[in-house]
Symmetry: D2
Subunit: 354 residues, 4 copies
């Protein structure tokens, strides 16, 4: 058997880093070499991610380029937005393969960083060559990539549902409403009064209801597929759960869409995509996509209805925001970049009930 591929995770005490750790402790082809965290330096990993007790005795270490280049074959950077730009270039220069989980390399247009993220991107060239990490759209590019930018959780959940229809250009590109619902893990590990259990429990709380940053990624990818400008109206809501995203996407069309036509567009767009499931049934609890059953799984469940009265195409897209919305998708990209089976380590079915 080949030696395991050595993995480093920069920013491993966060929820995305922790989920990458969780997947990789059971991944048959890799070994965990380094998990960095400034805050928890020298602590065992399972003190922060208590589910990993008995799975690894790894300790968090401070992030150091030398350590990563000497001891790793592959690195995930899972640091907050605006910090990856300070780390990635030094690692990339050493020939390490890298997936960045932050937003720092998702957008192609440097100007967009000024508009949406309020900073001037110092590596405009790198933006162009970075592969946007959606295997269902860029599988071949990812296979040969050395550097991949993993999409945002609400972005990938929205894009996967909308892509076939953007490409087919059968929806009105001025009136796409993405009404997103998301659990608290999407907000990261930093305690604030807004994430304090007594305040956060039981909410239906809109946040950043206009101009949310994930808009930029979604519009970039849909416009590329459509060959023209696509705009979206996005409003996220903090909901009373920890994991999960549901994107309810309201589209309108001029022409009269039919159910078989929508099915065909979906199936044709995703010919070999094990992590896309179509969920549309006449009965049962699983009639429509619902992130409730996706915790720990890497699926994007997509469903739809046609509202004939309104010429509305309703798309429903659900993921576990930490899995297909982040770490799971990242490991899927890693598998492709390393020539491994795409689904390796990602076969957990999710739980029912939960």
């Amino acid at each position: 058997m080949a030696d395991p591929i050595r993995i480093g995770i920069v920013g491993a005490s966060g929820y995305v880093g922790g989920e990458i750790l969780r997947i990789l402790v059971n991944h048959p082809k890799v070994s965990l070499a380094i998990a960095t965290s400034k805050q928890y330096k020298d602590e065992v990993v399972y003190r922060v991610h208590p589910n990993l007790r008995s799975f690894t005795d790894l300790k968090f270490s401070e992030p150091k380029v030398d350590d990563l280049t000497s001891n790793c074959d592959f690195v995930f950077t899972a640091v907050p937005h605006g910090q990856a730009i300070r780390i990635v270039p030094s690692l990339l220069g050493t020939g390490l393969k890298i997936i960045d989980m932050s937003a720092d390399y998702r957008l192609k247009d440097p100007v967009a960083y000024e508009h949406w993220y309020k900073f001037t991107h110092p590596q405009a060239d790198l933006l162009q060559s970075t592969v946007f990490g959606i295997p269902e759209i860029y599988r071949e590019e990812i296979k040969s990539a050395g550097f991949v930018a993993n999409p945002g959780c609400m972005a990938i959940t929205s894009i996967l549902a909308l892509a076939p229809f953007a490409k087919a250009r059968i929806i009105d590109f001025e009136h796409i409403v993405v009404d997103a619902k998301i659990g608290s893990s999407g907000g990261g590990t930093k305690p604030t009064i807004g994430t304090h259990h007594a305040e956060r429990y039981g909410v239906m709380r809109p946040y950043k209801p206009v101009d949310h940053r994930h808009t930029a990624e979604i519009e970039q990818e849909l416009s590329k597929l459509a060959g023209e400008d696509v705009k979206i109206s996005m409003t996220p809501h903090a909901m009373n759960m920890v994991r999960g995203i549901l994107c309810t996407i309201h589209c309108f069309s001029e022409e009269r869409l039919t159910v078989p036509q929508v099915w065909r567009l979906l199936r044709d767009f995703y010919p070999n995509s094990a992590f896309i499931r179509y969920v549309k049934d006449k009965k049962g609890m699983g009639r429509y996509p619902d992130p409730k059953i996706l915790s720990g799984s890497n699926f994007c469940d997509i469903g739809f209805e046609i509202d004939e009265r309104m010429n509305r195409l309703l798309l429903l897209s659900a993921t576990d925001n930490l899995m297909k919305g982040a770490a799971g998708n990242g490991v899927q990209c890693m598998n492709l970049m390393l020539g491994l089976e795409e689904r390796e380590g990602l076969e957990f079915p999710g739980l029912h009930p939960i």
Copy 2:
């Protein structure tokens, strides 16, 4: 002091009936005379509504017209859709004042019942004379009414947010998206596999995502205000809480709307409405409407944002579905019909945290 007004509640073991009971046990001007329930006949009320222990020793009785007419001055009918049409006429003939909490008298057009509710309405004339029970819109009509149809929970929550803009005709009437989120109490008391805790907990579950029946009421009222046909695209979602509705309403406009303009339209439309609160703040937990803090209160909290990129007017409207969305609004109507102070019995502020 005047004798208390004697109240009867038909269908008092349901959640709406129980909430009317809960409000009225502390209402200074009324007394509870009759609470009917076929299923729980002869049981004390607090065995079904355990919060009422020590507040009333009333027992459920079978619904009988004679009992109601002899012992009540005012009756709430809180029975399932399709059953009120069998009860209301016999009570109305006796001169009792009545509020019907069901959908049976909300629509003006008898044909609409065939389309949305799949039955032929036997009392088409009554539909015309019934007052639609939104005090903030029909206060004077309600004051002089003998019979009021209380609106649906998602309907009133949507209408209150949209009414000023429908009347002002400044939004695109073809692209109004109502994305509603609702707690489990909106579905009533009947246990099914879909409401079973292990299945219902933690969901983000779209249900009846196109052609939901509340659409009819909303379109009726908005069209009346606009003086032309208004259509809405509505998708409700079952969410992981018991009480509360948030309607996220995405509208589009041709012209460029301004924040002061939107404020003005809201304020002008609701000049003396104690239960409409505007919630739009730059900081704090209460930046936008959130039903979390509305449990037990009769408010409709309304907020908004303008999405300049999209010419989108985002309206946010939150209620407790059993209060302003049902029982609380019903008691507010009752107060008006009885010449009482509109807020009597409805002053509970809601809880924080909860």
Copy 3:
């Protein structure tokens, strides 16, 4: 009508202070004069307690003795443990009536503060004269008191269930197990990783499972009633809700207890106590005490079972930790101290369902 009594609340941005505010905005005999908060100085109260929007325009002010003595007739101190000892004496000297919501004056024995709270109490004399604020036990003392120490939330919930049996001396005082379950609001407003929604949601988390500080209050009161040393084995658990305490109390007895005997001991101990409800039924959702239905209400619901196999007396006691467990009980004491009707402002029945 008499002028309203002017109330000051020191520490009004916390959950207990906020709940006192919530009760008092609707209390017919008092007016809110001062609400202090260092952190939120000059902010409107409803920015912190969003349920109070439209109920008060009061702003938080810095706590100043002069302001309180000039503008208030009655003061609640709702500051963290160890801070009240620095405030109370200066206020008490001015003749203000005061209820302290903290633990600083609950214990009679100064040595106990060193053991349980790790500080030397600077006002040992005051401890002796302070009335322990349980109206159901010390009603007459509270009526004539100028200073009352409000009990801890788990303490009062436990004491109310155990008091009749401690006094009757029919349980084994060496084997009393108090297994407490509590919502997150009991932990206050300070965000930490432990209260972060993603970490705190869905827990069944024991905390301070031995030597919890409320033990001291419970043992003090039960020993006084029993006339001998009573010890308790207490273990609290953080549970997945915001409000509510359930104390499951396992007692053992030498003799064979009977159901009528237990009923009689309870009824005899609480002859005129509107906020004690006995909850023991053969059917229905409200068969046993459950804090689910107590949110916002001031009840302590008490139930029991006799386990004949084990000679075990199982006591079940439920409160809303912010109401009968804190603010509601405080207002009940205030009513007594001011000669008002004991239940004034505290008649909310709680909600069902919720």
Copy 4:
């Protein structure tokens, strides 16, 4: 590679049956041959267990002895209590290996069935030869068994924590309090008003607080280990989550226990038990056992504290009630009975956060 072992599950539409299916779809050494359900006959399995969509196209079939004996090598019976006695004997006669998930074969004493389950057991002989399925106690017996009775969820969670101390006879066998907290999945799939989301959400609801049936199993096993009668005082509570059990076990001792002594007793009792984890830490979220992080995992997390004031040994034991509390433990037994690696299919670490 050897042919996969063919598995049948009788009662596969329940939560335990569904969880066995979920584990086995990814188990490398077995194949799913039959999943029976009278209610869902001919439905695809994933319509009931929506997480299994894309994992299996198996349909539910009616339970028939011939089908099971012809097509299976190993059968799980996961039917309600009182029904297994009608199925197991006919299967066992054919030489099939069987694990029964119900209570029908857990007790050795036929009289106990009359007392606790109110039926006369028709197969008293079989009770004696049935192996009680706790691998950590009966590993060798299970390896050679043809028939195993899987323990109850609260029973195994309690027994695993108490066993070392029962065997060492260092706790007072008259005062063992098991205060159990459990999620809703433990109650099965049948919708009732008590499991209706609006009623069940947010509860802290004691149920069957004395004389719960799992008492019998626990006392049987502890008495056997102790060599004398051990009695327990058990009170379960329905809590606001779907999965998970926490047993808070309050024991008392005559002698003064020490922390090293307790550690030693635990470690000595479980020398090679991968699914027992000791959780006792000075800091971090994982300081004590908490079922929050165990969903989908097969661990029993055990922790403790010594309460010196009371001579109390506090044991804390947490499981996922559907995993180590049912299906996971069943598959662990199956692995042993089939000569497979004990952990096969059971390596999922659980999720954090969730």
